[in-house]
Symmetry: C2
Subunit: 226 residues, 2 copies
Amino acid sequence: MVVWERPEPPDRPVPAPLSRERIVGAAIRLADADGLDAVSLRKVAAVLDVGPMRLYGYIATKDELLDLMLDAVHAEVRPSGDGWREVLRSLAAATRRAAHRHDWLTDLLGGRPHLGPNTLTTGDAVLTALADLPLDLVVPAVAAVNAYVIGAVRKETAERRAERSSGMDKGEWQVAHGPYLLRQFAEGKYPALSRVVHDGPHLTPDETFDAGLDFLLDGIAARIPR
Amino acid sequence: MVVWERPEPPDRPVPAPLSRERIVGAAIRLADADGLDAVSLRKVAAVLDVGPMRLYGYIATKDELLDLMLDAVHAEVRPSGDGWREVLRSLAAATRRAAHRHDWLTDLLGGRPHLGPNTLTTGDAVLTALADLPLDLVVPAVAAVNAYVIGAVRKETAERRAERSSGMDKGEWQVAHGPYLLRQFAEGKYPALSRVVHDGPHLTPDETFDAGLDFLLDGIAARIPR
DNA sequence: AATCGACTGATACAGTGTATTGACCAATAC
DNA sequence: GTATTGGTCAATACACTGTATCAGTCGATT
């Protein structure tokens, strides 16, 4: 019996060639599923069915892998809209959305200066769309919005993680740590804090984020000469 | 010859009793000197001349130690001044100063929700001093300023670290990565970015920080009804 | 005086990033 | 055709990490 066509070896399918892209993709998938701590070179290599040291042919160090992950996500972040205000708002929203999709992004955002191609492309697109803002304002405005978004998203993520870690329930975290705070309040400590918690507005995360961003954009607008 | 006062045994001075404070202090000193990565339970224990496991009598986990470090530094952060604007500005400045003194603070700030006594005291002091701001504005205003400061400080620290890591010199980092960017610019990539880098204003870190904070404060002020 | 209980120090384990080493395999030189 | 060389890849090794466990010691109580 003649074998006309050699069948592919069944148990060892032709392995896709390794590449930076495949490594970064595997790392992102791991981080999405189990958090940034789950991204170890050994685990990434295991996902790709490869020895850990193989990765060093494509990546100099783990930090470089983190940079590549950060830059890869920046491909999703592009501004849209007309006019500086809409552009900055859409940039903020896109960054926030990306951080919600990949909640490990928070730990990398702003963590190191970053000159990856996607990040630079995003930056260039933003600056291009900001033509109607005086040049003197462009730099500080973008810097301020970026700083605000990074800080705001960081806090949101921290709270979401705390909630999630102490049980799936919505206000579980408040149940866990609320009593401690309430006891402090009952003892007369932190009166101003107590008053605000009782009488102040209770805003959703979206409302809080938008309120702060509006402050910032209003302040920028006030600086435009006319 | 009579020894009236027993001299302290020279080679084994009476060991100060271990305490949370001493542990946190040692950890902070380590972090100040060699960065947050240098804070391992083993090293902290070694500084205190103690076995690593001893620490677990005072601390449940390493994360708790980090929380304690964060709260300890918040003792340095207190608002001052009269009127909501000065108060928020002093809060921002104090936080930034603390982050400059302890550049590991950046990695902890906003990293997890935090209810330590010093943090709560600071928060209470801020809210007390914000009596002249409408209650509806207090919560979002404080949240926005905090978010901005966290993000801005994070970026500053990242840049300072990058500079420092590539040599002590001032603009060393620009020397290391500048050529890459310039080559990209020369190839016609990122034209808007290139234009801003060439023609835009070059601000010092202080100026950048203050500019963004002014945007924010102006935007808050615009929301005060009168 | 004996027993018990707390506290301490050592050891152990599973994991990390990365340097080094040794085997193999293809291409070149004689 | 054989020998050598150069490059690639897997495995091992090292110095760490946070923390669980456990055996021993020492003080206090019965």
